[in-house]
Amino acid sequence: MREYEQEHLRERAKPTVARSVLDDVSQWWNGSEQVAERAPKPEPAYTKQDFDQSLALVQMPVALSHLELFGKPPDVAVAGSAAARLGPAASALQVMANSKKDPKNQAAMLTPVPDIQAAQTTLQVIAAGEKAQSMWHDAFQYAMAIVDNAVGLPVADPDANLKSADDVEQRDHDLLVTSVKPTLQRLQDKTAGAPYVDFDPKAYTEGQEALSAIGAVNIAQLKPALAHINRGMAAIKAFAMSMEEQWNAAIASLEAAQQKLSAQAATYVTTTTPLPQEEAR
């Protein structure tokens, strides 16, 4: 055998297949510590607890409100009572979603919330009558307060080694000051007056402009501001309808919410209920 061939044999790599018991187990005490790693169990999207709590705290008030509205003439008192029941129902869903770790499960849990909130806002507008204007005034004021808070956040130093979680990028800060705040101020000014006198509630564009301006900024703290602007715009939209249209819009939103809630519950029922032939066995 030639010299280089012998050298090759001496430097042979560790066998990939165990040739003896010793080869196989030597790693146990000579190698690094071995920790059994189990694949994390995926979080169930919808549990029995979710089912029970959704039924009692969300589906019941939504169904009750629908029952009191459907097929009946518009009634200010009923609208007020239903609106008062829908807010806590939406909050219950948000609490349940917050207890989920997986963002996908959170999002799935939250799907009926916009419909419940839309119905609530419409019913609040019916109940408030001429005082409904204060709904969007307040909503836009809250949004402005949140934007003001965001303007006050410290601007991140790009050269700093340590960065605070609250820091905002210089670009976002500049956008807040030069774009978001003036746009929101325009929305406030435009909608401050009487609808149909000082502004057309069906044709104003400042709401969408404010939403777009906030959407261009990457600051997590601004999320509630978006929600307030959406709520204010929904109130203006509802105000522009006739009472009959408002009533029907609330019913439609409640029905959409009920469909989504039923679809959520169905995922739990179908995964836990045995098929008839399985039960017979």
């Binding site: 029970d52 709590q53 039924l55 009692a56 705290l57 019941m60 008030p61 009750l64 009191e68 008192a77 009572s81 008062a84 029941r85 807010g87 806590p88 129902a89 909050s91 219950a92 948000q94 609490v95 349940m96 917050n98 207890s99």
Partner: protein, 94 residues
């Protein structure tokens, strides 16, 4: 109608919920959050309805789900007392 008996029972239920929120003990965080964000506002809405001149059957219909809503929050002896007061308040309407 003043619904004094119903009001007294639901007031007691509300007081108990506030007490649980102050001292939740072993109640899970999710149950506490549900009590704060959903059950308490529903109870406030129920109490507000008592002043709105609704007939008793309307009040019973709107609030019949409340005892089950409290039970769904979680198994707890204090919550069972809340549920009992809510049921008594509903029974006083009929």
């Amino acid at each position: 109608m003043t619904y004094a008996a119903t009001r007294a029972e639901w007031d007691r239920a509300r007081l108990l919920v506030r007490h649980i929120l102050r001292e939740p003990g072993a109640l899970p965080a999710r149950s506490v959050a549900l009590l704060r964000a959903s059950v308490l506002p529903q109870l406030d809405a129920a109490l507000a309805m008592l002043t709105d001149e609704y007939p008793p059957e309307t009040l019973a219909r709107w609030n019949a789900f409340l005892p089950a809503a409290v039970t769904a929050v979680g198994p707890d002896p204090e919550l069972a007392r809340v549920e009992s007061h809510l049921r008594s308040g509903l029974a006083a309407l009929t």
